[in-house]
Symmetry: C2
Subunit: 147 residues, 2 copies
DNA sequence: TTCGCTGCAAACGGTTTGCACCGCG
DNA sequence: CGCGGTGCAAACCGTTTGCAGCGAA
């Protein structure tokens, strides 16, 4: 099943009593185009040509996060970045390499069953999960093997 | 199996060519005592009486994170907090309630099998994982049921 | 027509940095 | 005794805020 696009985004905003504006569309397009989570400064560069104000950018990201269109994630262990979440992007988790620092997206996490049992056991109703696994990526394993 | 304490902490530092200092012990004790992740400003208050400098605090947390003694986690969707990780604390994941905003620790996540299959499939060597499930906690479910 | 959204510019405060001194190993 | 760790204070810069004007619904 394909992820939601611009049209659904606009409808989603209206459904939640939030207005559809050129700025919000600009941000949504930039997020869709990106393959990695974006910080506000990242986005500022990305949408530079539109003249979109940085303060506005912060306010837009806060709104999109409240509406659960985007989701904040930790980047480089210190700054906050945002990424689209379901149904605006395919669900995925992250694998972070402790050596090279790269983050690799992990689709097909197959955690649904375990998460369901967590939900059943605890009584916590789960909307979605987000996982990070930390370790060594394949490249760094081979690089480390022979110093 | 119990988690590692002060003695092991000191040895761990030495093993990694990092020096054992009163400041680092102070921070370690504060982290052990706390039941929730702490930001640097949090810690600053916690160790106020020792006169530990804030800049030093930032440097200590960076060091402890590099040594994988602590682990940064996102707090309130915007600020970075730290918590001890295995073997200095029991492994646990987080359940974040979208209504009341509280974070509940989840022990016994039973994700090991799924994580192992991720490791096998991807070739990524996993040291540890960290998961957040988002949704509604039991309290907020009952509160929402009858408006 | 209304009220949410935006731009501008100033203020804020968490975080970083340079440097000299201290003290662990 | 050497070099990592620390305190101090200034600088930095990401983020927030107040307010007036604009425009989506």
């Amino acid at each position: 099943m394909p992820t939601w696009g611009e049209k659904e985004f606009m409808q989603y905003l209206r459904d939640h009593r939030a207005r559809v504006t050129p700025n919000r569309l600009t941000v949504f397009r930039a997020m869709q185009k990106s393959t990695k989570p974006l910080t506000v400064p990242d986005l500022a560069i990305e949408v530079e040509d539109t003249g979109l104000n940085t303060a506005t950018l912060y306010r837009i990201m806060e709104t999109l996060a409240d509406l659960e269109i985007v989701h904040p994630v930790l980047q480089d262990h210190q700054s906050v970045a945002y990424e689209l979440i379901e149904p605006f992007a395919r669900h995925h988790d992250h694998m972070v390499c402790r050596q090279c620092g790269r983050t690799i997206d992990l689709y097909n996490c197959r955690l649904d069953e375990a998460v369901k049992s967590i939900s059943d056991d605890s009584g916590f109703r789960v909307d979605f999960h987000q996982m990070e696994v930390h370790g060594l990526c394949p490249d760094c394993q081979t690089a480390t093997r022979r110093p």
